[in-house]
């Protein structure tokens, strides 16, 4: 029997992988991909809560739809920023984009 804990552990593992990628990578596009993995992990947790705790209310699934809307907007704007930076600086290495770094 697959329980709520199985899904939550899966979500936590995926979120940790995404967290590691977002913190440790230099390529800005790979950082964006890691953030997408983290958002997917949150979606799994939301749908699992919705399925096991309030199966008839579907609240978690509604939240997941809004998370997907925000994720799509974030991917579009994020890639736009990355391409604009690449035009100006010829690099998307996050360690070299340090103009506003203290």
């Amino acid at each position: 029997m697959v329980s709520l804990q199985h899904y939550l552990i899966l979500a936590v593992v995926l979120f940790s992988i995404g967290l590691y990628g977002a913190l440790s990578k230099r390529n800005a596009i790979v950082i964006l991909m890691s953030i997408e993995i983290m958002l997917n992990a949150v979606n799994i947790a939301m749908v699992a809560f919705s399925r096991y705790i309030v199966p008839t209310l579907l609240t978690g699934q509604v939240f997941t739809i809004f998370i997907m809307v925000v994720a799509a907007a974030e991917a579009a704007v994020g890639l736009g920023i990355i391409i604009a930076i690449y035009r100006n600086r010829e690099t998307i290495d996050a360690t070299e984009i340090n103009l506003m770094k203290w």
Partner: protein, 162 residues
């Protein structure tokens, strides 16, 4: 029993694909592994009887966001440099491991109040009633397209040739 086998296959495929995303050298192959991870998550949604969300996951993530990321990779010609790690490699491993440990402990230790009611299936009409019905999320539904419009306009303005 079939649900259990499906869950484990999808979980292993999803976690393996996510690990490949953060460990491969070639950025383009990482993007393809990301597509595999998204597909596994769509299958996980199906095992949770969220059929509409699985379809949306395939449409939005596998169809749109992955294409956007692959386009970004092609437009930036950073593929030759691979995906190296920065100075924070070991702190990142420690932080992610600590987060994993703490959250796994919290998940296992919490007494969840599982409801025995069978889930709604199919979910499309129920979701529609929940989104647009009384006491629903109609304000959020109306704000979401404004957010998307602003995001599209912002992306166009950011990448426009001067």
């Amino acid at each position: 029993m079939g649900l259990e086998i499906t869950f484990w296959i999808l979980a292993v495929v999803g976690v393996a694909a996510a690990l490949l995303v953060v460990s491969l050298r070639n950025v383009f192959r990482e993007a393809l592994c990301l597509v595999l991870c998204f597909l596994a998550v769509a299958g996980i949604f199906l095992t949770l009887s969220a059929d509409f969300l699985a379809a949306i996951q395939v449409l939005v993530y596998v169809g749109a966001i992955s294409i956007l990321i692959i386009l970004g990779i092609m437009l930036t010609r950073e593929v030759q440099r691979g995906s190296p790690a920065n100075r924070l490699l070991f702190p990142a491993v420690i932080v992610a491991g600590l987060f994993l440990g703490v959250m796994a402990f919290a998940v296992v230790d919490t007494p969840w109040q599982i409801s025995g009611v069978p889930p709604v299936e199919p979910t499309i009409s129920a979701l529609g009633a929940r989104l647009f019905g009384d006491g629903g999320f109609i304000l959020a539904v109306e704000i979401a397209p404004i957010l998307l419009l602003v995001a599209i306009l912002g992306a166009i303005i950011l990448v426009r040739e001067k």
